[in-house]
């Protein structure tokens, strides 16, 4: 239910932006984005790629991405999905063809775990027009890409040399919080890949933007392992005022994304001050 509230929250924010903070062309783009993502997500639902709740979350997410961010931000999101699905399909194919990642339905929790920070900062960027929010938004995708690449490639290529990130003891492959050299390098490459993509678009400080996104994405990937080790492997609980949460994979991804985005903002500020 709480995840469904995110759909309502972002939809409400979209209406406010549509009515109060967008020009005539933006309005047309948002409406077209709604119809386009609605059609695409419905097809994805029919083909069993998205669950019903996942479809609704993806419609909101798609409208925010294409409607507010345009083709540039849609490209980052598509690069994340396509690269992750291709790597997942290619690496899984030889062993178990029945369990291709493409055939699994994505839920709303997975959509928001990987896309919340991206959509949140995209809305902020659209309203304020501050470039730092656009960079932070892309860092959200970079963190998700980096983590996914690291999990898929690391889990496939190295079954023996996996260590727990908190104490570097050897653990079986696939353990929450486990890291391997191949996985870490893949995570770094994933973050750099998204960072480099920004060089094709016009930013006031292109190199600083690319470096900040790569750094933020990679730190997000590492913190996913740290949180995974703490909350999933050791099964610790997260105390938040009176509430006690038991973070599972999606919440861990969301928290790691937050760390990645915060690191990106900090790196961007530090580097831009150093440059000027």
């Amino acid at each position: 239910m709480q995840i469904r509230l995110l759909n309502y929250g972002f939809y409400f924010a979209l209406i406010l932006i549509f009515m109060l903070a967008s020009g005539p062309f933006d309005k047309i783009r948002i409406l077209l984005a709604f119809f386009f993502s609605g059609t695409l997500c419905y097809i994805s639902f029919i083909f069993r790629w998205l669950s019903l709740d996942g479809m609704k979350a993806a419609i909101v997410m798609g409208t925010v991405t294409l409607g507010l961010g345009g083709w540039e931000f849609t490209l980052y999101l598509l690069l994340f999905f396509i690269s992750s699905n291709i790597i997942g399909a290619v690496l899984d194919a030889p062993d178990n063809p029945q369990e291709l990642k493409l055939s699994e339905r994505r839920t709303d929790e997975q959509v928001w775990a990987n896309g919340f920070w991206f959509a949140f900062f995209l809305c902020l960027w659209f309203v304020t027009d501050l470039e730092i929010f656009a960079v932070a938004s892309i860092a959200g995708v970079a963190a998700a890409t980096s983590d996914t690449w690291a999990t898929l490639i690391g889990g496939y290529s190295n079954k023996k040399d996996v260590w727990l990130i908190s104490n570097f003891k050897k653990v079986p492959s696939g353990t929450d919080g486990g890291i391997s050299i191949n996985g870490t390098v893949s995570g770094l490459l994933g973050a750099i890949f998204i960072g480099l993509m920004t060089l094709f678009f016009s930013y006031s400080l292109p190199l600083v933007t690319a470096i900040s996104i790569a750094v933020g994405g990679f730190v997000g990937c590492l913190s996913d392992s740290v949180f995974g080790s703490r909350y999933q492997f050791y099964k610790r609980k997260l105390n938040f005022f009176k509430f006690q949460l038991k973070p599972e994979n999606n919440l861990v991804n969301w928290m790691a994304g937050a760390v990645g985005v915060a690191t990106c903002i900090l790196t961007y500020q530090l580097l831009s001050y150093a440059m000027v």
Binding site: R4, N7, Y8, Y11, F12, I15, F18, M19, R48, S51, L52, D53, G54, K56, I59, V60, R105, T107, D108
Partner: protein, 85 residues
């Protein structure tokens, strides 16, 4: 429970007979659409940029229309139960 009893008790098999959107969803979407058309129609009828209805009434009706229409799409059909597939 036999098929006959299931039909008699009003229970439905999940996924097989349940629609993606329920009656409530379609009702909300229709109300939303009507509100949107009404809002824009009010602006068209008054036909003044700084008119009272165009500035203070129609935007709220259109806003309510967007909210209601979206709720119609996002609200989960209770007949589907917990299974989102």
């Amino acid at each position: 429970m036999s098929t006959k009893n299931i039909r008699r008790s009003g229970l439905k098999r999940k996924g097989a007979e349940t629609m993606l959107f329920g009656k409530e969803n379609y009702l909300l979407m229709t109300i939303g659409f009507v509100l949107l058309v009404t809002g824009f129609l009010i602006m068209r009828i008054e036909n003044e940029i700084n008119g009272f209805f165009s500035l203070f009434i129609a935007p709220w009706i259109i806003f309510a229309g967007f909210v209601t229409f979206g709720l119609g799409i996002l609200k989960k059909n209770p007949a589907l139960g917990d299974t989102a597939d």
